[in-house]
């Protein structure tokens, strides 16, 4: 009798165990398979257990995953995703532009940065834009002088050679397939195509692939880019030399010079991507690694340093007090950025001093609780200082290696110049040089202009917790700071933090600039901010002006990898 009872109890526990397993698998399956909500702005986390890719287009994510599943590592997949973005989101980045990537190698516990920012041609000089007077903005944005020597391909290749496991030819393959097979144009693509129509028509002409029979693409139209497929195929066969010293180089120089630019074949042949040390900072006991100058990781860390002096979680995410204080901190940090940020190969940037505890405390002490400042001064270190739309992707592989990569051709559709027969757009990143002809960010031969990009890793208790980055021009580092604060201080999930309403301001020559906000704050808060002296400019509720952040969060304890992709663009993620 006892034996029977024991065996039935055993059977009961066995059945219970099986049932729990089934329930757990169902739960996992539901998590993995539940589709994104119909409203793209509703926070939604992509789910994985081993690896994840998050980027600004589903086809680019698919390209990265394909490489990961073919035993590629995070670097291989990041380059595949970056190349696929050139095809699927051609208005934001590509081989005609440049960027930065930060790489984490889990086994070696090494973090490194690849700088593939564009460089000014050798014939550039400090007065190249100022001498154009009222027409300077045209020469900075849509003439050949707007185009910097592209660095993307050199950067991808350097990363693959040092830290990848696959050849460039292999990781370019998914991009080639997308360019050949084509895809349906999204509303985002169509809207941006319409916004930039004038420039595209002027520089690329009526017959360009970036217009459909001379008119902008409508949502749902089919887009193919056989010329870009041919270009990628050529690079896959002959290596990047064909781009920097071969027939593609000749086409680039021809296109730039036809539009009164100064780039030569030597400029392209001399271009090198570089590997540099990351910049390290802290926020509320978490370590943050990001890119050094000429990127804006330095200013992201500065902003977080100032924010760490305030009890933000007590103030609340939608309080006027929080918005006011962080906005004022942005303006003070921008004053430093305007004064010190440039190409460190030409001007030393006082990163240590700007990241010092005293510097942050000083800034926090300047900010008044209920009034904007009259002027926003940069910090003076008695140092000799005589002297600017984008895309982001994140990859995490099965071994825990990670990449955060931000790349750009600057404005949407870059300069609008397409070298004949190549299918790719050239950047207009020379517009990121300062408007004057002196200072660390003045135009100059071989210089890299200051960048707003700041891809990052956040570590918690020594373990990689967050991979994050965003496009968005000047808004990039304030946006990233807001997302980090949303997660750490306000306890939001990754995608809640990404979708939460954004705000941004800066200072220029010490003067206050308006406070731009997404109109999802209450009238009461807006009235209060106006009473503090902020001029408020309300933009769209989910405005791509504030960037399109992508992130991956690693929840070690729950054994989960979560992806957050910004609905302000066509962000998408997928894990397994």
């Amino acid at each position: 009798m006892t034996k029977t009872r024991d065996s039935s109890r055993g059977l009961y526990w066995f059945a219970f165990f099986i049932l729990m397993n089934i329930l757990f698998s169902c739960q996992s399956a539901k998590l993995a398979l539940s589709p994104p909500p119909a409203d793209p702005h509703q926070p939604y986390e992509y789910f994985g257990q081993k690896a994840m890719v998050v980027a600004a287009h589903p086809l680019a994510v698919e390209a990265g995953l394909k490489i990961l599943k073919a035993k590629g590592n995070a670097v291989d997949a990041a380059v595949a995703t970056a190349a696929a973005l050139n095809v699927a989101e051609p208005f934001a980045s590509g081989i005609g532009g440049g960027g930065f990537m930060i790489i984490y190698l889990a086994e070696q516990k090494k973090i490194t940065v690849i700088n593939f920012r564009e460089k000014a041609p050798a014939r550039f000089h400090s007065r190249i834009f100022t001498e154009k007077g009222d027409e300077a903005s045209i020469w900075r944005t849509i003439k050949g002088t707007a185009v910097g020597v592209p660095g993307a391909l050199a950067g991808w290749d350097l990363a693959l050679q040092r830290y990848g496991t696959k050849k460039l030819a292999e990781v370019l393959q998914p991009a080639i397939e997308i360019a050949e097979h084509g895809f349906s144009v999204s509303k985002t693509f169509s809207d941006i195509n319409k916004e930039e129509y004038d420039k595209i028509l002027t520089n690329a002409g009526e017959k360009t692939v970036y217009l459909k029979d001379g008119l902008p693409y409508e949502p749902g139209d089919f887009f193919q880019n056989p010329e870009l497929a041919k270009t990628f195929r050529l690079i896959a066969q002959k290596g990047i030399k064909i781009f920097y010293q071969g027939e593609i180089a000749s086409q680039i120089v021809k296109a730039v010079q036809e539009k009164d630019g100064l780039m030569t074949l030597e400029d392209l042949a001399n271009y090198r991507a570089t590997e540099v040390e990351p910049l390290k900072g802290q926020y509320r006991k978490r370590e943050i690694y990001t890119i050094p100058p000429p990127g804006s990781g330095l200013h992201l860390l500065q902003l977080l340093n100032v924010a760490s002096f305030w009890p933000l979680s007590q103030w609340g995410r939608t309080s006027a007090r929080y918005l006011h204080h962080l906005t004022e901190a942005m303006r003070l940090v921008f004053a430093d950025r305007e004064t010190y940020l440039g190409d460190p190969d030409f001007f030393p940037v006082p990163s240590d001093k700007l990241l010092a505890f005293e510097s942050a405390r000083f800034k926090a002490s300047l900010i008044k609780p209920d009034q904007v400042l009259k002027e926003y001064y940069f910090e003076n270190f008695n140092q000799e200082t005589n002297v600017g739309n984008t895309t982001h992707l994140c990859v995490l592989d099965e071994k825990g290696n990670a990449v955060a990569l931000t790349q750009s051709i600057n404005h949407f559709f870059g300069s609008g110049i397409v070298p004949e027969g190549t299918g790719f757009l050239l950047n207009n990143h020379m517009d990121d040089f300062a408007s004057g002809d002196t200072g660390p960010n003045a135009p100059g031969p071989g210089r890299r202009p200051a960048s707003s990009m700041a891809p990052l890793f956040l570590f918690e208790e020594g373990k990689l917790k967050l991979i994050l980055g965003s496009p968005g021009g000047l808004r990039i580092f304030p946006t990233l700071a807001e997302i980090i604060i949303n997660i750490i201080d306000f306890g939001l999930s990754l995608d809640e933090a990404i979708e939460a309403p954004r705000f941004f301001s800066y200072s220029q020559n010490g003067h206050i600039r308006p406070l731009y906000i997404e109109p999802r704050f209450s009238d009461e808060i807006i009235n209060q901010l106006e009473s503090f002296g902020h001029k408020i400019i309300q933009r769209e509720p989910y405005d791509r002006y504030f960037g399109g952040a992508q992130g991956i969060m690693i929840e070690k304890r729950r054994g989960l990898i979560l992806g957050g992709a910004d609905s302000r663009r066509d962000g998408f993620g997928q894990g397994y």
Binding site: E195, Y197, L215
Partner: protein, 185 residues
């Protein structure tokens, strides 16, 4: 067999006339047409491409004034403000309003018909664009509007009040047909 053919032919002819009778009578416009914008938007270039595609004799002049109205028999006025476009042209809203106002007054004196187009959809609405729409749409004989830009019925309301023929289209290329018919091409 012969009578069957006759019946089929009659049916085709009747269907054609039925089709024609369902199409609204369009006001007539004559080439050459001056194409300009109200608000320095990018869509003005698109209208020039559409005109080229239907072989409509035209001239694009983003800064046209009353003095430029010498040889034109119609005006295609593309409505919607673009801050970028205004900046590039070195204009502010007031200067642009004055330019277009002057042009329209001259057109009315010379009895030159105006066809307004709004092709930018929802993205080309908002306070500044609406200022141009409200100021200049009433001067039109006909309007072609991408439906997404008329979600709040602003175009319908003005056109109804002023007796202007309004043609709503789904997308930009759909403007080709009504343009062809308006110019009898």
């Amino acid at each position: 067999m012969k009578s069957q053919k006759m019946t089929l032919l009659s049916l085709i002819i009747v269907s054609y006339f039925l089709f024609l009778s369902t199409q609204p009578d369009l006001p007539r416009f004559w080439p050459p047409a001056l194409i300009t914008s109200g608000g320095q938007n990018a869509e003005v270039q698109m209208v020039a491409i559409l005109a080229k595609r239907i072989n409509l004799e035209h001239q694009l002049n983003k800064m046209a004034t009353a003095q430029d109205l010498t040889n034109f028999k119609s005006i295609l006025l593309v409505l919607g403000a673009s801050l970028k476009g205004l900046g590039a042209a070195g204009l502010d809203t007031n200067k642009e309003m004055d330019r277009v106002k002057g042009l329209i007054e001259a057109a009315q004196q010379k009895n030159i018909p105006i066809l307004c187009l709004h092709l930018g959809g929802e993205e080309r609405r908002g306070a500044q664009s609406d200022e141009f729409i409200k100021a200049f749409l009433p001067a039109a004989r006909m309007a072609i509007v991408v439906k997404a830009g008329n979600k709040d019925g602003l175009f319908s309301k003005i056109c109804q009040e002023k007796g202007i023929l309004l043609i709503e289209i789904e997308k930009i290329t759909d403007a080709l047909e009504p343009l062809k018919r308006a110019f009898n091409i």
